[in-house]
């Protein structure tokens, strides 16, 4: 038990504290622990004056909204698979396999699909759809959508699996009760099933947003942050500030903001689980 405690203390708490402290210093290539009393927020001021950082934040928002489609589709697919029960194993296997593929490979594969001369675009052109534009990654405005598509591809099966687990845990009596009451198919899903699964949805949403905040691999593989800096994400920004610019203080400041973002997403989950366990205790007594 002691090693685990030590790891937690040093590698997590120590490291977070270290990052926070360094973010207030003027460290460049090597850490420097003196905090200039009058200029300790300098890194943060610079950060929010940096257009690339603003782009990163915007991108994370776009990515979150776009990837939310994965949850939606995941639910639809799970509902269909669950209703059908035919070939459930087959579909589950097919939808889930992208998850076993690393994000870097995912990115490369989709980069190849988006290749203007030789990829999908060319295929559509050869079918006679001459105006089809599938060269998303080369355009600042659409590059993010390309990344969203690839991350949906990667994550779809995961959310489907979670939703399927959620659907399976719903009592089968609900279905027959609904049938006796003559509730229509759509109303059953909208009014009964979705509210029953709100915890599953919330879990998915939180996991999704945590994943989005961390997005790095796929950006590197698909666009390398480009064109220009249009597909930077905070994670990409942190690593870039650290390894390319060699500015530890600046990178730490960006990392601290990432931590705050994570905490903002995460806190509701913590409160929710606390509330849930208290409620279940109350039910027992």
């Amino acid at each position: 038990l002691i090693p685990a405690l030590a790891v937690t203390a040093v590698a997590f708490f120590g490291a977070i504290a270290w990052t926070i402290v360094v973010s207030f210093t003027e460290s460049r290539r090597f850490p420097d622990f003196t905090i200039a009393a009058d200029r300790w927020t300098r890194n943060y001021q610079r950060l929010f004056g940096d257009p690339n950082w603003i782009i990163s934040l915007q991108n994370v928002l776009i990515l979150a909204i776009g990837s939310a489609l994965a949850i939606l589709f995941g639910f639809v697919l799970a509902a269909m698979i669950e209703r059908e029960q035919r070939a459930e194993g087959f579909f589950r296997t097919v939808f889930l396999y992208p998850l076993a593929v690393s994000l870097i490979v995912t990115g490369l594969v989709w980069r190849w699909m988006f290749n203007p001369g030789l990829g999908i675009e060319n295929f559509l052109h050869s079918l006679g759809w001459e105006s089809a534009n599938f060269n998303w990654l080369a355009d600042r405005r659409t590059a993010m959508y390309g990344i969203i598509l690839a991350s949906i591809w990667h994550g779809l099966g995961f959310y489907m699996a979670l939703m399927l687990a959620g659907l399976k845990s719903i009592n089968t009596e609900i279905w027959s009760a609904a049938r006796l009451d003559g509730v229509s198919f759509w109303r059953l899903y909208v009014v009964v099933i979705i509210p029953m699964m709100k915890f599953t949805f919330l879990t998915c949403a939180i996991l999704l947003s945590l994943g989005v905040v961390k997005t790095y691999d796929i950006v590197l593989a698909m666009t390398g942050g480009g064109p220009g800096t249009s597909t930077w994400t905070p994670a990409y920004f942190v690593i870039n500030a650290y390894s390319t610019r060699g500015n530890i203080g600046y990178a730490s400041a960006a990392a601290v903001i990432m931590l705050l973002l994570t905490a903002a997403i995460f806190l509701p989950l913590v409160l929710l689980t606390a509330w849930r366990s208290r409620r279940s205790e109350a039910q027992v007594t």
């Binding site: 296997t93 994000l103 870097i104 594969v109 591809w153 279905w175 961390k214 390894s243």
Partner: protein, 305 residues
Amino acid sequence: MSVGADEIRAARATPRVARRRRRRVRGSTIANLVFLTMCAAFVSIPLYVVVVTSFKTMEQITLGQIFTLPTTWTLAPWWRAWAEVCAGMTCEGVRNGFFTSLKILFPSLFLSIGLSCVTGYALAHWNVRWANHFLFVLFLCAFVPFQIIMIPLVVLVASLGIYGTIWAMALVHAILAMPLLTLIFRNAYKDIPPEIINAAIMDSGSFWAIFFRVVLPMSGNIMIVVLILMITTVWNDLLVGLTFGGIGSQPMTVILANTVISQFGPAEYNVDMAAALLTAIPPLVVYFALGRFFVQGITAGAIKG
């Protein structure tokens, strides 16, 4: 539509045997299956394209027919990707990365599973003070983005003198995985009835004796789940390899990224795709071989974490 749905729901409510007997396929069922198949196609197309591309010759690729089968199947791209393609300065293909990834995999599996399995066992069955608080803290740690603790870890690892080696990466993987794995193990061991443990204590079993004789033999299932989880995360990781790997000790994903992204000369898409496939194959094999456990693993990682 609504009638069909009702029928299906009726079928669901009655046991499966009754369902089997009714073999008439309904319109909504067909619509469902068609939609599912279309989605399955969307998911499968990239894999198909990659496999096909990796067997094509460059002449055929430049014709631009991405979906057609290779006219002449060739293994040359695979060989080039494995042994000849250039990543930055060195031109030895991705094979070094493959072996490095393997070398990283085993120590990190050993370290992380050893550590978290004992900790999970201790937390589940021995009266540890502040156990619940510690669990809560672990729960928080499991969600800290790696970038936040990355730079201090670099400093820490460098001060240990192992920066840029395989051990650095194994250690970092073990640290990162520790909170989540401990939670998973703890939840799994909680299901072992306390009577068994108590009986073992009566038999004058010590902490370690009970662990090795009673708990470990009972944890085969959860072990497989955790193994799969760890193998896929360690193998697929890019960031740790990128920040902690030195020259000559970069894992496969990093080599792949270097190969494809910083390419000199004309792009060889077939070689790129073969390299990508080589990197993706090990986790895919694990997935298709042990799919059931894989699903368990990721849902355990998600919900219980």
